[in-house]
C-alpha cells in the first residue's frame, strides 16, 4: 500500500477514535444532566455551566488547533488531529514525536516519507501517555475512598486538604511563568501577561459586585484569557 501521511485510511482511523471520544463526552454529559435533574439542581445553573464551559474552551482549543497545524508539517494532518483530540497535550506530543524521530533518524522539520519511521512514532506517542488510561480504572475508586474517609474524619480539614492540592498545582503553573525573567525585558512578557489577565479578572469581579452583573461571572475567565492574549500581542510589539 502506497504510504501517504494524509491518506483517507489515516483520516478514517483518526475520525473513528475522535467520534468515540465525542460519544463518551455526550454520554457523560447526558448522565450528569439526568442525575442533576433527579436531585433537583436548578436548571439555570446547569445551563450557565454549559454556556460558560463552552466559552472558556474557545481560546485554549484554538491554541490546541495551532499545535495540530505545527505538527502536521511533519506528521501529516490525521495523526496530530487524533493525538491532540485525546489524552495528551502539545508539550507531550512534541517531545514524544521528537524522541521517536531521533531514534529512527528522521528530522522533525520535514514530512515523513518512511512508513516504518511513521509507525515507530505512532507507537511511541501512544505508549508514552497510556498509563493514565489504565491507572484511572484501576485506582480511581481507591483514591475516592481515601478522600471520602478523610472527609468523614474531619470535614473542614478535608476541604482545606483539597484546596491545598489545587493551590500546589496553581502555584507551580504561576511560578513557571517567572522562568524566563532572567533573560531581560522580553523574558518578563509572560509575567506582564499574567498580571494583565489578573487585572481583567479583578475588574470583572468589581463590575459583578458593583453592578450585580450575574452573567459576567460565567464569562470573566474567558474574558481574562482573551484579554491576556491580546495584551501579549500588544506588549510584544511595544518591547520589540
Amino acid at each position: 500500500m502506497q504510504f501517504n501521511l494524509n491518506s483517507t485510511f489515516l483520516f478514517l482511523v483518526a475520525g473513528s477514535v475522535i467520534l468515540f471520544v465525542l460519544a463518551q463526552s455526550v454520554y457523560f454529559l447526558v448522565k450528569a444532566l439526568a442525575e442533576a435533574k433527579r436531585i433537583g439542581m436548578d436548571s439555570s445553573i446547569l445551563k450557565r455551566t454549559i454556556k460558560s464551559s463552552a466559552a472558556f474552551t474557545v481560546a485554549p482549543a484554538i491554541s490546541i488547533l495551532l499545535g495540530v497545524i505545527s505538527l502536521s508539517k511533519f506528521l501529516g494532518l490525521p495523526l496530530p488531529w487524533l493525538r491532540l483530540s485525546i489524552l495528551g497535550a502539545l508539550t507531550y506530543e512534541l517531545t514524544a514525536a521528537a524522541s521517536a524521530a531521533s531514534t529512527v533518524g528522521v528530522s522533525v522539520t520535514e514530512a515523513i516519507k518512511d512508513p516504518v519511521a511513521y509507525t515507530t512514532i505512532v507507537w511511541v506517542m501512544t505508549l508514552g501517555i497510556i498509563p493514565s488510561v489504565l491507572l484511572i480504572p484501576l485506582f480511581l475508586k481507591k483514591i475516592q475512598g481515601g478522600i471520602v474517609s478523610l472527609k468523614k474524619r474531619d470535614k473542614v480539614w478535608g476541604d482545606h486538604f483539597m484546596t491545598a492540592i489545587f493551590m500546589g498545582m496553581i502555584s507551580a503553573f504561576l511560578g513557571v511563568v517567572f522562568a524566563t525573567v532572567t533573560q531581560g525585558i522580553r523574558g518578563w512578557i509572560p509575567v506582564f501577561v499574567l498580571m494583565f489577565s489578573a487585572v481583567v479578572m479583578t475588574v470583572c469581579g468589581l463590575f459583578i459586585k458593583k453592578y450585580k452583573l450575574k452573567w459576567l461571572e460565567d464569562y470573566a475567565l474567558p474574558f481574562s484569557i482573551i484579554g491576556g492574549m491580546s495584551f501579549a500581542v500588544f506588549i510584544t510589539q511595544v518591547i520589540n
Binding site: 483514591i143 484546596t163 492540592i165 510589539q237
Partner: protein, 219 residues
C-alpha cells in the same frame, strides 16, 4: 430492581468507557502497521519510549493522584481520555464549580465538574475538527507572526485570571508554595519543562502549610 446510586453507576460505565478507549488507542498503531505492512522494531520503539516514558509515566501517576480529587469521578473518567488537563479541563471544571457555588467532593460538585468537562471536550473536538476542515484559510492567520505571542502566552493568560479567583480566597495556603515556586523557577529556569513533576512538590508544601494553619486555628 432498585437502580444503583449515581457514583456506583459512574464507576461501572466509566471503567467500560475507559478500557474501551485503552484498546482503541492501542488499535490505532496496530491498524496503521497492518494496513501499510510497516512494523517497527521493538528496539526502535523502546529507544523512543526511553526519551519520554521516565518523565511522562511519572507525570501520569502524579496527575492521577493530584487531579482526580479536583475533577470528581465522571470528570476523571472523561478528562483522562480526552486530555489537555492542565491547560483546559482542570481549570474549566474548577471554574464551573466556583461559579455554581458547589464544592468538590459533593454530588453537586461532581455533576457540575462532569458537565463542564464534557462540554469542554465536545467544544474542543468540534473546534479542532472545524479548524482542520478550514485549514487552508486559517493557517496563515493562526501562524501569523503578529498572533504568535498570543498563543505563546496562553498559560499565563489563563492562570493570571484563575489566580485572582483562587489565590485571593486562599492566600494563606497559597503564599508559601507560590513563593517557593517563583524562587525555584527564577533560580533554575530549565525546570520549566518539568513543571508537571513539580505539582506534587507544590501540593505537599501547600498541604503542610494548610495543616499548620488549621492546627493553629488560622484558617
Amino acid at each position: 430492581m432498585r437502580k444503583k446510586p449515581y457514583e456506583e453507576q459512574i464507576h461501572v460505565y466509566g471503567r467500560v468507557w475507559m478500557l474501551t478507549a485503552f484498546f482503541m488507542m492501542l488499535m490505532v498503531p496496530t491498524a496503521i502497521c497492518a494496513y501499510y505492512d510497516a512494523w517497527p522494531t521493538l528496539s526502535a520503539v523502546a529507544k523512543g519510549l526511553l526519551g519520554v516514558a521516565p518523565i511522562f509515566w511519572t507525570v501520569a501517576v502524579i496527575e492521577v493522584i493530584t487531579f482526580t480529587p479536583m475533577l470528581g469521578l465522571g470528570g476523571a473518567y472523561l478528562a483522562f481520555v480526552t486530555g489537555n488537563l492542565t491547560n483546559l479541563k482542570v481549570p474549566c471544571a474548577l471554574y464551573a464549580m466556583e461559579n455554581a457555588k458547589v464544592k468538590q467532593g459533593t454530588l453537586e460538585g461532581e455533576l457540575i465538574s462532569t458537565i463542564a468537562i464534557a462540554v469542554s471536550s465536545i467544544a474542543t473536538v468540534l473546534i479542532i475538527a472545524l479548524g482542520v476542515l478550514m485549514l487552508a484559510p486559517l493557517t496563515p492567520v493562526l501562524n501569523s507572526e503578529m498572533l504568535k505571542p498570543a498563543f505563546d502566552n496562553i498559560l499565563p493568560a489563563l492562570f493570571g485570571g484563575l489566580a485572582v479567583v483562587y489565590v485571593s480566597k486562599n492566600w494563606k495556603i497559597a503564599l508559601s508554595p507560590l513563593i517557593f515556586m517563583i524562587i525555584l523557577f527564577v533560580s533554575v529556569p530549565s525546570l520549566a519543562g518539568s513543571v508537571s513533576v513539580l505539582v506534587p512538590v507544590g501540593a505537599l508544601i501547600a498541604i503542610g502549610m494548610a495543616r499548620l494553619l488549621y492546627k493553629k486555628g488560622l484558617i
